[in-house]
Symmetry: C2
Subunit: 156 residues, 2 copies
Amino acid sequence: MAKRKPQSRTECPVERSVDIIGDEWSLLLIRDAFDGLRRFGEFQKNLGVAKNILATRLRHLVAHGILEVVPASDGSAFHDYVLTPKGRDLFQVLVGLRQWGEHHCFQPNEARSVLVDTEQGRPVRAMEVRSESGRPLTSTDTVVKKVSEKKPRSKR
Amino acid sequence: MAKRKPQSRTECPVERSVDIIGDEWSLLLIRDAFDGLRRFGEFQKNLGVAKNILATRLRHLVAHGILEVVPASDGSAFHDYVLTPKGRDLFQVLVGLRQWGEHHCFQPNEARSVLVDTEQGRPVRAMEVRSESGRPLTSTDTVVKKVSEKKPRSKR
DNA sequence: CCAATTTGGTTTCAAAATGAAACCACCCGG
DNA sequence: CCGGGTGGTTTCATTTTGAAACCAAATTGG
């Protein structure tokens, strides 16, 4: 799981994210956590993943502060895995994957689950990337600016 | 690469997306394609990936309509790999990964690349999930609604 | 036009990751 | 205090990965 160059930390934020959560099981575990699954057995049953793999991935996500282990909500001596604030901040990533899948991975009339606003029960809007001034942007309107060093000290 | 249950197509759009692009190399290849890399050798040099793995992943992305093979832009007999419209629609996913990485995978003063609006040169806004009515939503404001079948026919 | 080099792969093989199954300790309910 | 459920770990066969060698077609230098 993400063993590439542990020495040279890349300056690309996409790559740092992908190194942590860029694998199938981690992403599906995070999806399930957003869906409210908490227990080892729930994840295992829902994903059909081998228990050793599941244990490895849960440890990985806990180690990276995406999930945390808390006392079970049912009062038993077991424990739950729940999203931390850092984990919940992956919401946009999961919504992005969902909306792309909705748009590109289904036949027009094929059944699919849909993310709705709890309050209104209506599907959420398509996410947009916007400039600082609020203008919607496509990928061709943007560019990655490399920052070699933090500004040593401002001259003024 | 995504060999899980090829028979039962899940109704979860997140899972369908993850089955296609939920691996480290695919996501990094897509990032590089957004950055304008086109040639086999460019990807290979930039990622440091083994050539057999790169060939497999490029074939996979082409097979799924995310990249396409086009005549080389330099007029040579080689060819380029470029994002299709379907591939460009992954922009929000990549921006989501980038913004999460920026926020959670760097020390405050650590050097990082940044995505800017080409026109203004200013960093893009944080992406937001919004309700149909425009209200910003967090994960706790939303729920996944399972849709078992397409509406057979409207009664009215 | 020919030789050398570059490009874009494929093949081969060892090492690593995955996954199924067996095993096991602890908790819980009766 | 017994039987089953929960949450793992261990073992081992299979699959995937990756490094390196190899190779054909295209390009470049002379």
